[in-house]
């Protein structure tokens, strides 16, 4: 074997090391599973990390009820294939109030379903370490995030609580009530994730690949009409276009791109030749340039 590992081999080994450290030193770990490609990559790495054992933690999907239909189908398939337990948490308050992106706005929708839902789920099950698929290259404010990010008992990210991370030594100790967010993909880039999915043939939700799908165009963004809950504006008629998604979230909040890419290599090709960043498809970031940062302090992933 070549004594020098490729960058992907090094990243893979580092992620596995991180997951094993978290499991060895925490009491109740869980993996946040959002069904997206980063989650898929992370799940694949977890299966490698603990093989021949099953990963010794459940998957947790903090659901909003507004994901694409194909995402729910894919979620069930991955649970079957991995043999892992899946916990689905839906914020009961949101259920009761019927929080949705149309009447309550994208910001409140995301905050209530996702941010609050996640906090409630962690408290409900008593998890003290949660794996998330966030990467440092996603957004400027994430460049300084730790691999093991500590949160107060109120789930707040406090810069003073964050610890220096030297070598591959992670301090996983925490006081009662405090929790850790663990990011095994910290040092991966979007290209690395796609490349790894291609090399390892990791299954992905078909929505990442182009197909003819019904969409409406709103303010320059293509929104897919995934079910009858999307209120059509007067005169708006869904039309079939060849589209795909670069990120997957709640369908009314996720912009599609027109594309002919039907394979992973073609996605990578398009991605490298295109000129807008990945998060641009997420309407939640559009408010202001510091908005991700605020979300992080409030406990959003």
């Amino acid at each position: 074997m070549d004594p020098i590992l490729t960058h992907l081999q090094r990243l893979e080994a580092e992620s596995i090391h991180i997951m094993r450290e978290a499991v060895a030193e925490s009491e109740r770990p869980v993996m946040l599973y959002s069904i997206g490609k980063d989650s898929g990559c992370m799940l694949h790495l977890a299966r490698k990390a603990f093989y021949p054992s099953k990963p010794p933690f459940p998957l947790l999907h903090v659901d909003t009820t507004w994901k694409f239909k194909e995402m729910y189908e894919f979620r069930e398939r991955m649970v079957r294939e991995s043999g892992m337990d899946l916990l689905v948490y839906q914020n009961p308050e949101c259920m009761q109030l019927g929080i949705n992106p149309f009447e309550h706005g994208s910001s409140m929708h995301t905050d209530m379903w996702k941010t609050e839902g996640l906090k409630q789920a962690l408290d409900h099950y008593g998890f003290d370490a949660a794996f998330g698929g966030a990467r440092r290259d996603e957004e400027k404010s994430r460049a300084k995030e730790r691999v093991f990010s500590i949160r107060s008992a109120q789930h707040r990210w406090d810069p003073k609580l964050q610890r220096p991370e030297l070598w591959s030594l992670y301090n996983v100790r925490h006081n009662p009530g405090e929790t850790m967010r663990v990011f095994p993909l910290s040092n991966w880039t979007e290209l690395d994730v796609w490349q790894y999915i291609h090399l390892e043939q990791i299954p992905i939700v078909p929505l990442y690949l182009s197909a003819m799908r019904p969409v409406v165009e709103r303010g320059g963004t293509l929104i897919m009409v995934d079910d009858e809950r999307l209120p059509l504006e007067p005169g708006e008629v869904p039309e079939m276009r060849s589209i795909r998604f670069r990120t997957l979230g709640c369908y009314p909040l996720t912009g599609a791109v027109e594309s002919a890419a039907t394979t992973v290599p073609e996605i990578i090709q398009e991605m490298l030749l295109t000129t807008t960043s990945e998060r641009q498809g997420r309407l939640i970031d559009a408010d202001s340039s510091g908005s991700m940062e605020k979300k992080k302090q409030e406990g959003y992933f």
Binding site: M1, P3, I4, L5, T6, H7, L8, Q9, R10, E12, A13, E14, I16, H17, R20, E21, A24, K48, A49, F50, Y51, P52, S53, D137, K140, S141, A143, K144, P159, Q162, R163, P164, E165, L166, W167, S168, L169, N171, R173, N175, S186, N187, T189, L191, Q195, L199, P265, E266, I268, Q269, L272, L273, T274, T275, T276, S277, Q280, S289, G290, E293
Partner: protein, 639 residues
């Protein structure tokens, strides 16, 4: 090929043959480097420029950059690349970066991870953190200012953290008219300084990060410069993997037991290579076995190298748990519990010598105490200064003590086997980092021999379970009298015993020790070690020592197994002991002929939770002895 041509070739391949492009990307290597310098040196501008040149700045980012440049930029409305990398909003407004940010870019040959740390003096913590994972350092020098105090500080820190390859980016050369003379002078100054701290792999490059000179393409503004451009150097600097040529090391992270038939040891290899059939030694136990399989999700491997995360199975069933190190049997790491180390203090509160902290090294966490620093290093002048403690961002050399032995290699030989963090027991925060240099004990090369006849075998043959009965109390309290009766009675019952008496041991083993606090601590430590050996031999050991300090009695207790330590507090009031004064010692102490006498001018700390509390004013020695034998029975030491 110049930069433009390269980029065109890149885009061509990408557009026409994505499979070939992916194949090339798949085989890229990874270089991690740290950039050192302050905002004033143009460091953020340089990193922003590298991201920009490698086409990692997307249109939407660029639009935000243009807007930000107009609003808060320092380039008079022109693109301010620094704004691409300065992170959190609050810091952006302050105009300084704090903490370590990690940036990513790649070229056709390599992927890069850049640790971006601020250069201010108070942020030694951040620079050390960033340097700990870097293979190379880029040190920025402002061509107008030359080698400054901060240049020396940055160079010292990266050299301390074991980085050998240095790139000196002599920046802002445009402002000094691209002068070769300026460049040559700074290069000569830097090389002269670097030689003093043992850095010799140095590449100096004339740059203007703002204008893009010598970043990707050789600049027409510096025709006198014939060396590599910054990118070219970063993507071709040899990455011969030193870790793979070292002896095999793998700290065990997890014992993998999916079912009764499989028992594997999972970890990341931090040195050397391993293959099935190879002899390995487990540290600190010293047991040996051979590797049976290298198990991965993708099938068994014929060999694995440093950097890989794997699961090993061994040919023999031996006791291995998280924190142990698997190592090449013929070239194992040293096992020790006392070291000299560099310590970098990172806590808001100062380091407290003697305070119990935790150390995490590899996958093991042990108790740690630090002695008063031998000296502190002034990171600006490299002078050694006297110090009683270390404050935030201070670096010193200290002796450290662990509560258990660990396997280690000197930091200079293997970063992962010699680097550690210090954790505060109360807050659980990381308050320091350290580099192990060497073990202090002369026995540091004596490996623990795995003993075949175990403690259980020894004690089974004697028909008893081993124990230490530790008598503590004032001089003249009656410890030895009671201990003698206990031993006689046990002996009559056919038990195997030994009595260690304070006075007797001070005639031999400990005759070099006096009665200062330090000597008393050492006295007890030695006796505890001897008692432990006797416990290993299966004996019931009676220890009769004043042993005035709780901390040392606790130390003795922690050395023994569960139910093996029975503390007997022989409680005799001082007046009563003084009145008895069997050896005439109180009289001498009172008259000043005897110094440091316990109870008179040296303190006695009574036990808080002794297993046996004997009030000698109401119990006879005979009754006391029977009471102790009863307790030995309760603890299942004797039938």
């Amino acid at each position: 090929m110049d930069g433009t041509a390269r980029k065109a070739a890149h885009d061509e391949l990408l557009a026409t043959d994505i499979e070939a492009y992916l194949h090339a990307h798949e085989h890229k290597s990874l270089l991690r480097f740290i950039t050192c310098g302050s905002v004033d040196d143009g460091k953020s501008t340089l990193i922003g420029r590298l991201l920009y040149e490698s086409k990692l700045v997307f249109e939407d980012h660029l639009a935000a950059l243009e807007a930000d440049s107009k609003k808060v930029g320092t380039q008079g409305g022109e693109l301010d690349f620094a704004l691409l990398v300065d992170g959190l909003a609050a810091e952006r407004e302050q105009g300084i970066t704090i903490d370590v940010a990690y940036r990513f870019f790649s070229t056709e040959l390599r992927k890069f991870v850049v640790a971006d740390t601020p250069g201010h003096e108070q942020y030694t913590r951040n620079m050390v953190t960033g340097a700990s994972t870097a293979d190379l350092a880029v040190i920025l020098i402002d061509a107008r200012k030359g080698v400054l105090t901060q240049t020396r500080r940055h160079s010292f820190l990266v050299s301390l953290l074991g980085i050998r390859r240095i790139v000196v980016a002599i920046n802002k050369l445009d402002i000094v008219g691209y002068s070769q003379k300026v460049f040559d002078r700074i290069e000569a100054d830097y090389r002269a300084f670097a030689a003093q701290i043992g850095l010799d792999d140095i590449t100096c490059i004339p740059l203007s990060a703002l204008r893009g000179d010598n970043i990707v393409e050789l600049s027409p503004n510096t025709p006198w410069y014939t060396g590599p451009t910054l990118i070219h150097h970063l993507e071709t600097v040899p990455l011969e993997d030193l870790a793979a040529s070292k002896p095999f090391r793998m700290p065990v992270q997890i014992v993998n037991r999916p079912d009764l038939d499989f028992r594997g040891f999972s970890g990341r290899i931090v040195g050397g290579t391993v293959h099935p059939g190879m002899a390995v030694r487990v540290l600190p136990s010293g047991r040996t076995s051979t590797v049976a399989r290298i198990v991965t999700f993708d099938g068994d491997l014929p060999e694995a190298v440093a950097g890989q995360s794997v699961t090993l199975t061994l040919a023999d069933e031996i006791d291995i748990s998280r924190g142990d190190v698997l190592a090449a049997a013929g070239d194992p790491p040293t096992v020790a519990d006392q070291f000299e180390a560099h310590i970098i203090w990172m806590g808001e509160h100062e380091m407290l010598p003697g305070r119990p902290y935790l150390m995490k090294i590899g996958t093991r966490t042990v108790g740690l105490s630090v002695a008063q620093p031998k000296y502190r290093v002034d990171v600006n002048t490299l002078e050694h200064l006297a110090a009683k403690t270390l404050h935030l961002n201070e670096i010193g050399v200290c002796n450290i003590n662990l509560d258990r032995p660990i396997a280690f290699d000197p930091y200079a030989d293997n970063r992962e086997m010699g680097g550690f963090i210090i954790i505060d027991r109360m807050t659980n925060s990381t308050v320091g980092a350290g580099l192990l240099h060497f073990a202090l004990r002369r026995a540091d090369n004596v490996h623990w021999q795995a003993i075949e006849v175990s403690k259980d075998a020894h004690s089974a043959m004697k028909g008893q379970r081993p124990a230490v009965v530790w008598f503590t109390g004032l001089s003249g309290a009656g410890k030895s009298a009671i201990a003698n009766i206990v031993e006689r009675k046990l002996h009559q019952q056919g038990r195997h015993t030994y009595l260690l008496d304070g006075d007797n041991v001070r005639h031999g083993l400990n005759k070099d020790l006096g009665f200062t606090d330090a000597d008393r601590v050492e006295n007890i430590r030695r006796v505890a070690e001897v008692a432990k050996l006797m416990v290993d031999a299966g004996l019931i050991v009676l220890v009769s020592f004043i042993s005035p300090f709780r901390a040392e009695r606790r130390l003795a207790r922690e050395m023994m197994g569960e139910d093996e330590f029975i503390e007997v507090y022989v409680d005799t009031p001082l007046e009563v002991a003084e009145q008895r004064d069997v050896k005439g010692l109180y009289r001498k102490a009172r008259s000043g002929q005897l110094k440091n006498f316990t109870g008179i001018d040296s303190p006695y700390e009574p036990p808080e939770h002794p297993e046996v509390h004997l009030d000698t004013t109401t119990w006879s020695a005979e009754q006391a002895a029977d009471q102790i034998i009863e307790v030995l029975r309760e603890y299942s030491r004797i039938p």
